[in-house]
Amino acid sequence: MASAVIDGYTPERGESKYELWRPIIRAQRRATLERVHQNLAKDWSQRLSELLPQGERIEFEGLGFESFGNLSETDSADCQSAVFTIKETEFGGFLLVSGELARSLVETRLGVASGGDRDQRISLTRIERAIVHEALNGMLASLSDSYHAAGIGSLAVIRHSERLKDTLLFVPQDYLVVLRFRLGPPASPMRVMLAASSSIINAVRDVVVVNGDHRGSSQIHDAAAAVPVEVDIVLGTWSVPIDDLLALKPGDSIVLPDGTDAWIAARTVRLGPVQVEFDGRRVLAEVKRRGRSNAGD
């Protein structure tokens, strides 16, 4: 079936059973992300106005989390996708249009009438795929502008991919943030799916409106408290000659410190010592004392 990967979405399906590693998103962050993608849908509708059926607009449906394994298992050869990374981050993602929407874009661009039962259609020709890729590139340009404005970053390394499994960006167990869009009524098969590393939810800047009268209020405190900080649990450090570092290769083994003198660091700033235990799978880091230790600890 064409575009199975993004068909059948209804907002009611947003509730799903608890899975241990499903990312959690705060309500304010969710609202910000939804606003970004609602505006993105408007941009796409304008940018693709000549390729969309008259009077039709791309609508944002909602946000959810799904594993890459689930998404790629239902991938269809009719879908057309583009893979992207985000500059100066390790985040990546892909944009995918359903086979139905791809066919519609091509038909509008070429000025040909719809052929009725699209399930009976043969695959897109090279020229038709080029038309869809051009549309995808335009959508990615809007996406890049939107993500840059939202603080996530501009897109880079854009390439087209026929199948999701060929993206090489994710492993099946990676949870992705999935944004769904549609053209037409709720049951329409003409759909767009945008999926990205769930880490991008931490990169979004929450927009908090603070009036002058409220300076020093709890709003500022709440906004500051919500700022995501990337921290490392560091077992130890070594001073290593560059020669030795360059000689490292897969298979080399290093004996690690036992975890009694580990610490938490934000970039290169040590925030405080922790006692680390490793049980073969889980890392347990117990805070030994608060506050920044002296440089050179």
Binding site: L20, W21, F68, E90, F91, G92, L169, F170, V171, P172, Q173, D174, Y175, S197, S199, N202, A224, A225, A226, V227, V229, V231, D232, I233, V234, L235, T237, W238, S239, V240, P241, I242, D243, L245, L248, K249, P250, G251, D252, S253, I254, V255, L256, P257, D258, G259, A266, R267, L271, G272, V276, F278, G280, R281, V283, L284, A285, V287, K288, R290
Partner: protein, 93 residues
Amino acid sequence: MRKARVELSAVLSRLTVPMGILAALQPGDRLEVEPPIGADPIVRLVVDGKTVAVAAVSERDGRLLATIVRLGSEPGGRNSDEWQLRKKAAEAE
């Protein structure tokens, strides 16, 4: 120049934590981190904040051992680890 030395850090976990939670950490609080289901525990070898190698972590003869499995950073999608915080006070209740 190749004799120059750099500081190599062994980073067992990389987390994204809201500043408010970080600021409120107290002695005895525990951060519990577990790799995603199906993924192996790893340690990142980091120079100046950049991951230069990813190693599998194992325990042998009571010692932690890192065996390099990949040079460069880990693939996209495994950037920040998932974590849970257990407050000391909550545990005592």
